[in-house]
């Protein structure tokens, strides 16, 4: 219970700070919108091509965008040596990881809730009828992204080139996740039977379990000096 209480305190603190400043959220939404907007131009007027690539474009935009939020979440902790303060509390390192993960997850999910409708409008996709299924695919995909991103952003916090290192490490590690979430989204957007998305859901579930567990086990060693 102590671990959960402390994890929730960290997540609440992060979300409160985000609510006050809205720095990450605003930047992430604007950046994701900009990427989707530019992609829509890159394909010209070829509606068939846009539809075929739309799920991949959506998730690429969200993954690029999530890097902004993950980096900002660590930046807060580096200001005023807050990360040192956090690590000096008599809290299990797992609580710190889980708290940061929950905070990052909430912010990315909120960004998705804004970006999905914008995506539907920009790419002329009938999202509304498929929204529950899309959310079912998006949730495990976002959990995996936040899990790996939280670990890597904490790991690279002490590096001078952390802004460059985070995407450099994050993108290759999340390839299986990106593949699964893009394929799952494709199934949903094409209106195919949801059974076809189940293997991708299983892959994302396995990815999430493996990376959350590995992160909980290794976080302590990665943040120690």
């Amino acid at each position: 219970m102590t671990l959960v209480r402390r994890a929730l305190a960290i997540a609440r603190k992060d979300l409160l700070a985000e609510w006050r400043d809205r720095e990450s959220f605003t930047a992430m939404v604007f950046f994701a919108f900009l990427i989707l907007f530019l992609y829509s131009f890159a394909f010209g007027g070829d509606q068939a091509l846009i539809r075929a690539a739309s799920s991949g474009l959506l998730w690429l935009a969200l993954i690029f965008t999530s890097v902004l939020g993950l980096a900002r979440s660590v930046q807060w902790e580096l200001e005023n040596e807050c990360l040192d303060g956090l690590l000096l509390y008599p809290a299990q390192r797992e609580a710190i990881y889980l708290g940061k993960l929950l905070g990052n997850l909430a912010v990315i999910l909120l960004v998705e809730l804004v970006i999905f409708p914008l995506f539907a409008v920009l790419y002329n996709v009938d999202l509304w009828s498929q929204l529950p299924k899309l959310l079912l695919i998006a949730l495990p995909g976002t959990v995996g992204l936040a899990a790996v991103g939280t670990l890597l952003s904490s790991m690279t916090a002490g590096l001078r080139a952390r802004e460059a290192m985070l995407p450099f490490l994050l993108f290759p590690l999340t390839i299986p996740l990106i593949l699964a979430v893009v394929r799952g989204t494709e199934v949903v957007l094409r209106g195919e039977p949801f059974d076809l998305a189940v293997p991708w859901l299983k892959l994302m579930g396995a990815f999430d379990v493996v990376f959350v567990t590995a992160s909980l086990l290794t976080f302590e060693y990665l943040v120690e000096e």
């Binding site: 305190a9 303060g85 000096l88 000096e225």
Partner: protein
């Protein structure tokens, strides 16, 4: 000197940052109810020593024990016994003073947090600005709030790194009252500072670190501020010409 078993006990403590030695074999004991003040020039290893004692940094060699627990092996257990005040104020600027203290109280597992927070805010003179965001505070007010965070509980070990920096006369008095009250309650304290006069005034024992080694150690009544100043200048010069 108090007769109790040492609360802080380091043996042959060594720390390297890459190829640079920060500590080169520190043997140090601090008993319950004792205040040890560490002096030393910049880069002498004071902050590294405090970081090892707090469990924030792992030593390269030697052992550090706090209340009988190995800091390296039982970091979480020892962190629960320690209160720290470091260089940075470790406060979240987007949150208010009260929100910062509430977060700290939850993380520290403080009993009766509301009462403790209110008391700490009153004692540090921040009650009137408790709901204001830390971003709007002056650096002195931030130091006071960091002090309020330390005062949320009574740890067995208190580690203070340059605690006087940015504190005005009133806040310094509050800090020293807290320090003496903790000492009376049996806490051991290590205070690292460049302020010879203030450090000398609160110390039971004094030590000078120079280039990662303990180069001088004495009870307060066996030395003077002037003697310390001479020694400090000598080791500061040695550091700069090394």
């Amino acid at each position: 000197m108090p007769e109790q078993a040492p609360v802080i006990d380091t043996r042959g403590l060594v720390k390297w940052y890459g190829a640079n030695p920060a500590l080169r074999g520190i043997d140090l004991c601090v008993a319950a109810g004792e205040i040890l003040v560490l002096f030393g020039p910049n880069g002498s290893g004071k902050t590294t020593l405090l970081k090892i004692l707090s469990g924030r940094v792992r030593p390269t060699g030697g052992t550090a024990r706090v209340a009988g627990r190995d800091v390296g092996a039982d970091g979480n257990g020892t962190r629960g016994l320690i209160g720290t005040l470091g260089h940075g104020h470790q406060l979240y600027e987007a949150l208010s003073a009260r929100e910062n203290l509430t977060f700290a109280a939850t993380m520290l597992g403080v009993d009766r947090p509301r009462e403790r927070i209110s008391t700490a805010l009153v004692r540090t003179g921040l009650e009137a600005v408790a709901e204001a965001r830390v971003r709007t505070f002056s650096s002195g007010m931030k130091r006071r709030l960091a002090l309020a965070k330390l005062m949320l509980r009574e740890p067995k070990v208190i580690l203070l790194d340059e605690p006087y920096a940015g504190l005005d006369v009133e806040a310094t008095k509050v800090l020293e009252e807290y320090l003496f009250a903790s000492k009376a309650a049996g806490a051991a304290a290590v205070l690292a500072t460049h302020n010879l006069t203030k450090g000398f005034a609160v110390a039971d024992r004094l030590a000078i670190l120079g280039r990662g080694r303990l180069v001088f150690e004495s009870r307060r009544d066996e030395t003077s501020v002037e003697a310390l100043r001479d020694l400090f200048a000598l080791h500061g010069e040695a550091q700069e010409t090394a």
